[in-house]
């Protein structure tokens, strides 16, 4: 019954309602947990080529998740299952047209890919709006139809990507064109969130009837959301083409399930109205990191099954933990994902530094130092491939002030957060400023130390 809830007693000075948005809690926690494990298992991830390769692999997935996100926010349970085959379709048509001598110009390629994606989504949205079919049915039909059409267009994997893309897929440096596409796409969405159109989109996704009766032009907003989604699909297809440097009619299909998983893992609501680029990107990165971490263990022939098992298990666990969100919302009125991110990143930065310092000090990986089994080795052994040597012990003592200062920073951040929370001004700006300034200081300290230590790469 509702009436009991109407007059929940509150102190008069306190404003009603909470603005906490704890849905990013899970993706952020998972991201840092996986990142820490990945770095400890394979420190080579934290090198220019390691990060570069990771970006190349993960970008098509992130963009596919954006594709889903844009249409999912519009509500009605729009989960676009056809995203994978759509990426595949754009990929194979691009390869075939390129093979036929068309589409040489990069600009033409980009325009073509985004136009095809947008056109497909336009048809999709028109069917949903005017024929009033459930979106999931439309997307399932699209999935089946496009999967078949792709095989007709390009029966076997093959063909050549346009020449300008040839070097994109190497992934030797961090700042590859792929990263720029990803950053531009993310920035475009963030700019879009500042518009009235985005507000309309969220309102419509959350409650379509309310939006309609208030005069929001829901037809146009829904079509717009799908067109944006289509543009993301085009970008995803370009990155996918760059990754495989050829055409593949069936590979794209696998993106559907991974993208849906990433979307849910990123805290978006499949019912509509909630979702964002940070959550979606983190969800996709998390899935990549799961694969990466699992690949450091040797499961032999069942590797892919274990990966899928891990996807499923982590998704279920994270959804179960989402049940805690109402509890969190009751306790914490203003949860700041940004501060949480910064706080955790400080911790993980410490872990990354630790892994790289150890590695650098040891030289060759996996050197086993004979000696008595001590407690620390027993604890860290299963996690670390490298073992501790006396030289690193010395380095650790040198790094102790750093660890202490990091701990201090976290404490300061928590205190500043509390101070801001207690004051009337509801802004995080001071806390973030303090933490960022402290990070800069810490970085300076590390660099000063690094003069003595061996190759301290900039890892952040």
């Amino acid at each position: 019954m509702s009436t009991a809830a109407i007059t929940t007693p509150t102190a008069k000075t306190e404003a009603q309602g909470g603005r906490s948005n704890p849905f990013l809690l899970m993706p952020i926690t998972l991201f840092f947990a996986l990142l820490a494990v990945a770095v400890l298992r394979a420190p080579s991830l934290m090198s220019a080529s390691g990060i570069g390769a990771a970006i190349i692999v993960v970008t098509p997935l992130i963009l596919a998740t954006y594709t889903l996100m844009a249409s999912t926010i519009s509500g009605r349970g729009t989960v676009d299952l056809s995203v994978g085959p759509l990426i595949g379709f754009i990929n194979v048509t691009l390869i075939q047209l390129h093979g036929a001598g068309l589409l040489e110009n990069p600009i033409a390629v980009f325009l073509y890919c985004m136009a095809v994606g947008a056109l497909y989504q336009l048809i999709f949205s028109l069917i949903v709006i005017y024929v009033r079919v459930q979106p999931i049915i439309v997307s399932l039909s699209g999935y089946l139809a496009l999967s078949g059409i792709n095989l007709v267009i390009l029966p076997r994997p093959g063909g050549m990507a346009p020449a300008f893309m040839a070097e994109w897929g190497y992934g030797t440096s961090i700042f590859s064109p792929i990263l720029i596409i990803l950053l531009l796409a993310t920035a475009a969405w963030l700019l879009f969130t500042a518009t009235a159109f985005y507000t309309h989109l969220r309102l419509m996704g959350s409650d379509e009837r309310a939006a309609y009766t208030s005069g929001v032009p829901i037809t146009i907003v829904r079509i717009g959301a799908h067109m944006i989604s289509g543009c993301f699909a085009g970008l995803a297809a370009i990155c996918f083409t760059a990754l495989i440097s050829s055409g593949d009619p069936s590979q794209g299909t696998t993106y559907t399930l991974i993208a849906v998983t990433a979307l849910v893992l990123g805290g978006a609501s499949l019912g509509g109205g909630r979702g964002g680029v940070f959550g979606s990107a983190l969800g996709a990165i998390n899935l990549y990191l799961i694969t990466y971490v699992l690949s450091t263990f040797n499961f032999g022939t069942v590797q892919s099954f274990v990966t899928n098992l891990a996807y499923g298990a982590i998704l279920v666990i994270s959804l179960l933990l989402t049940l805690l969100i109402p509890v969190i919302q009751r306790r914490i009125r203003n949860f700041s994902p940004l501060l949480y991110f910064v706080a955790l990143s400080v911790v993980v930065l410490g872990i990354i530094l630790h892994a790289i310092f150890d590695y650098g000090a040891l030289g060759a990986a996996g050197a086993i130092v004979p000696g008595p089994l001590d407690m620390q080795a027993a604890l860290t052994g299963p996690l670390e491939i490298a073992t501790v040597s006396p030289e690193t012990e010395a380095l650790r003592i040198a790094a102790a002030p750093l660890v202490l200062s990091v701990l201090l920073l976290i404490v300061i951040a928590v205190f500043v957060r509390l101070a801001v929370g207690q004051s009337n001004r509801r802004t995080l700006a001071p806390a973030v400023a303090v933490v960022v300034a402290a990070l800069v200081l810490a970085g300076a300290y590390v660099m000063a130390e690094g003069v003595r230590g061996p190759e301290t790469e900039a890892v952040e």
Binding site: S2, T7, H200, R274, R426
Partner: protein, 607 residues
């Protein structure tokens, strides 16, 4: 018909809404069957009628979200056909449903639809400031404009929909049952707001069931019956009697008064509760329910009366104490869970149809007799549903409650709200319970159905069963409840004898202005223990006479709202400085007492 109504006054003010012979059909149902009415600028016009008479449909037609099948609608000289068009014309509508987007912030919800497609009409900072100001002004408490709407209680969500309508000065404001989720104090603020708008020349169209409110606020009223308009009442003519006569089509204004509350013939108890507390920090109390009585439960919103009936029905667990129900072999069964309640033959009927009542995608038939499937099954382990028997039961209940429906296989959502509620009450009766617990069942029910419901509950009680009836409208208890228990701060505050029930006294008790001595008497919580001194008071209460005692500050607002209420309409309040029970009360604040009309805190009761 409207044309027959006197139309001599206010000839100077222009007519803003003109509806002529409008027809609207939903399949075979005729929601509107030739309605005509008109409303002028600068008046509060009420649309009244029983359930399923087409009030809400008419409101939707006027606001432009429903296309019509015949007739003409002219609003400010135009005919809007989409919400966006009607918004552009200056029509603001607050719908019956609380239409908010839970995932979005308060600001976005209030300014929903105010922006153009790509550009905003106001900068975000100014929107935030305006939203905060408007919400505090309306709801009387500060609301964080950035808060997600999903975290707010229902009352505030309702205010958001009203704030959305009041954002720009509307030329026409349509309120469709908009005070449903508001408490008394909030309703007063809404009324003050409506009067202010009216005085500035806005046409305010209200659709409401609450006759008491309607009489207080409206300048004119159009009465609908069965999709047609049956009369227009001017301010002076708006009385319960006239309204009821028009609504029901016959003069049954007095028929209500002859009923007396049923009195139990035996002291045998149907239920007992010992050391019960509905909230963890509320006072605990004992409660007895005798066979053959109807216990009314009242209280301001959120004072624990709602939790109390849910605990009795086993829907919610008690914070402390145990509820027991008498079984048919003179034993006592505990009621801690819903399963035990069903075993103890307790039926629960909720007024919150959407959440605790209907199965929206199932038929009317299934909705009513679903709980009996298991009981009436045939063929042993196969458990085949015994449709013939169930059909008989369905027919009986449907006829008893006068449910209007097409075919029994139709979806329950094809019925109007009131008829859906009747189906749910029928479901409660069909289970043949010993105790029936009703949680504000008359919410959204028309007068005719209410009378039927009372008749059935009375007959039910006279068979030696017991009824617990929670209501938010005190006048429902008149001539109906054996005793009325008023809740305050999560525990009973006072109790009244149903035979000598005065609405005013009950209302005073709800506001904590009585001594609370009724609790220990024969009509108190545990009738058996009290000294039985039955002074047979003459049955009083004439149906739906309503008196509302209003706190002084609110009264001042009422007066300022220019329609001078006669002295007996605003009774002199007797604010007795009571010796409040020295018990550890829950740290709860009662809004009505804590806030004055302008929202300033008010310190305690004064002489």
């Amino acid at each position: 018909m409207a044309s027959s109504a006197p139309d001599i006054e206010h000839v100077t003010s222009r007519e803003t809404i003109l509806v002529r012979g409008v027809k609207k059909y939903f399949g075979p149902t005729r929601a509107l069957d030739g309605v005509s009415f008109s409303a002028r600028a600068g008046e509060i016009h009420a649309i009244v009628g029983g359930n399923g008479c087409g009030k809400s449909t008419l409101a939707k037609v006027v606001s432009g979200i429903l296309p019509i099948d015949g007739g003409t609608v002219s609003i400010l000289g135009e005919t809007p056909s989409t919400p966006a068009e009607s918004r552009a014309l200056g029509i603001s509508t607050v719908y019956q449903e609380v239409l908010v987007a839970d995932e979005s912030s308060v600001v976005d919800n209030i300014f929903m639809g105010a922006d153009r497609l790509f550009s905003k009409t106001l900068s975000q900072e100014r929107k935030v400031a305006r939203a905060a100001e408007l919400m505090e002004e309306l709801s009387g408490e500060p609301v964080d404009p950035h808060a997600l709407v999903g975290t707010l209680p229902l009352g505030l969500k309702q205010w958001i929909t009203i704030a959305r309508a009041l954002l720009s000065e509307p030329k026409i404001l349509i309120l469709d049952e908009s005070s449903a989720a508001l408490d008394f104090d909030s309703t007063e603020r809404l009324f003050a707001r409506m009067r202010a708008l009216r005085n500035r020349g806005t046409t305010v169209l209200i659709v409401t069931h609450r006759i008491a409110e309607l009489i207080r606020i409206s300048d004119r009223a159009t009465v609908l019956r069965d999709g047609r308009d049956v009369g227009v009442l001017e301010k002076a003519e708006i009385t319960e009697r006239n309204l009821l006569a028009l609504m029901t089509g016959e003069d049954r204004g007095t028929s209500h008064a002859v009923h007396t509350a049923p009195q139990p013939r035996t002291p045998e108890r149907a239920m007992k509760a010992r050391n019960l507390a509905v909230w963890p920090n509320a006072r605990s109390f004992d409660f007895d329910l005798r066979r053959g009585e109807i216990v009314g439960v009242a209280g301001l919103d959120g004072q624990g009366q709602d939790a109390f009936v849910r605990v009795l029905a086993g829907v919610a667990p008690a914070a402390r104490g145990l509820v027991q129900v008498a079984d048919r072999n003179d034993g006592w069964l505990p009621v801690r869970t819903l399963g035990e309640a069903v075993k103890g033959r307790i039926a629960y009927v909720s007024g919150d149809r959407k959440r605790e009542g209907i199965f929206a995608s199932l038929s009317i038939f299934e909705n009513m007799v679903m709980p009996l499937y298991r009981e009436k099954k045939r063929a042993g382990i196969l458990g085949i549903i015994d449709r013939p028997t169930l059909t008989t039961i369905f027919k009986r209940e449907a006829e008893n409650l006068l449910i209007k429906f097409g075919a029994k296989e139709d979806r329950i959502t094809s019925l109007s709200g009131g008829n859906q509620q009747k189906v749910l009450i029928g479901r409660g009766f069909a289970m043949r319970p010993d105790v029936i617990v009703l949680n504000d069942p008359a919410r959204g029910i028309d007068v005719g159905a209410k009378t039927e419901l009372y008749k059935h509950l009375r007959a039910f009680a006279e068979e030696g069963r017991a009824v617990v009836y929670m209501s938010s409208e005190i006048e429902e208890f008149l001539g109906f409840a054996t005793r009325v228990i008023v809740f305050r701060d999560g525990a009973p505050f006072d109790a009244f004898d149903g035979r000598a029930l005065e609405t005013k006294r009950v209302l005073e008790a709800m506001f904590g202005q009585t001594s609370g001595e009724g609790l220990a008497t024969a009509h108190g919580l545990t009738p058996k223990r009290a000294r039985t001194e039955r002074s047979g008071g003459a049955p009083e209460g004439d149906g739906v006479r309503v008196q509302v005692s209003v706190p002084a500050e609110i009264k001042a607002t009422l007066r300022s709202g220019h329609d001078g209420l006669s002295p007996q309409q605003v009774p002199v309040e007797r604010l007795v400085a009571t010796a409040t029970p020295k018990v550890a009360m829950a740290p709860k604040t009662i809004r009505v007492v804590e806030f004055g009309a302008e929202g300033q805190p008010r310190s305690g009761a004064s002489r």
